[in-house]
């Protein structure tokens, strides 16, 4: 299964819907997408991971890289994820402390820090 990506704007947030496997093979595509968004001035990102089947540490690295980029512009990167097997990876790595993780896109889009 490959990676699928689509983006849309909701107010001042940009929602990136990711599907499939984020791994050492596909992570570069996601990374490129995040870089493109930040370059085009989108600093408040919501990454919807509900359709992600697989996530490895390379994928985590790309998300952390994205977070660093938006922070450099006082932006935010929020995740949408309720899948236990994906959440587990964030928990094991302590990244639940680094990323705000929401149950729905609506919640993430309307969240303020």
């Amino acid at each position: 299964m490959d990676l699928s990506l689509s983006t849309r704007t909701e107010g001042n947030r940009t929602v990136v819907v990711v599907g499939g496997e984020i791994d050492v093979y596909t992570a570069p595509k996601l990374r490129e997408q995040l870089i493109d968004l930040v370059s085009s001035g989108a600093y408040h990102l919501v990454v919807d991971m509900e359709s992600v089947d697989f996530l490895d540490s390379t994928g985590l690295g790309v998300l952390v890289g994205g977070l660093k980029r938006v922070r450099a512009h006082d932006g935010s990167l929020r995740l949408v994820c309720t899948q236990e097997r994906i959440l587990k990876i964030f928990r094991i790595t302590g990244l639940t402390k680094v990323f705000p993780i929401h149950a729905t896109v609506e919640e993430a889009v309307s969240a303020t820090d």
Partner: protein, 158 residues
């Protein structure tokens, strides 16, 4: 003697192949379905780590994955041929799982360069630490050259 052995050139695409193979052999070895995701993730991490090391130090050499399903347990060994201390310092000093949140403090992580590899934001040893966090029974042994990451799963009661 390993029951199934996979050797592959250091390319990210082959990591998916290794993951798939590990899942198939693990199922056949009787590993519980609820642990298959863990097997895929752990073997994938070990292979992705080996691919990164080979791309830097041994691009012409193959990575070897041994999958053993003939005993009571399912054992996956991933062997690279890079320098044996390429990234094992974290593990060797016992940092591993406990210190992961510290390792990951987003403010101290290196800035990801435009052209760097996608995992560059993560500290060395991160992949190994993830494996250690996932799998109860992991051994990381220096080989000459390289490292062997050995992961063991008990078969489900049947």
């Amino acid at each position: 003697m390993p029951t199934v052995e996979l050797r592959f050139s250091p390319l990210p695409a082959h990591v998916r192949t290794a993951r798939l193979l590990a899942a198939v052999v693990a199922r056949r070895a009787g590993v519980d379905e609820s642990l298959i995701d863990e097997v895929k993730l752990a073997v994938g991490e070990a292979c992705a780590r080996a691919v990164g090391i080979h791309q830097a130090y041994a691009p012409g050499d193959e990575i070897v994955v041994e999958l053993n399903d003939d005993g009571g347990a399912f054992v996956a060994c991933v062997r690279d041929r890079g320098p044996s201390d390429a990234d094992t310092a974290v593990e060797a000093t016992g940092a591993a799982v406990a210190d992961l949140p510290d390792l990951l403090d987003v403010d101290v992580l290196a800035d990801p360069g435009e052209s760097g590899d996608p995992g560059a934001a993560m500290p060395p040893g991160f992949g190994l630490a993830v494996i250690a966090g996932l799998v109860d029974d992991v051994e990381v042994t220096p080989a000459d050259p390289g490292t062997v990451v050995r992961m063991t799963w008990a078969p489900s009661a049947r």
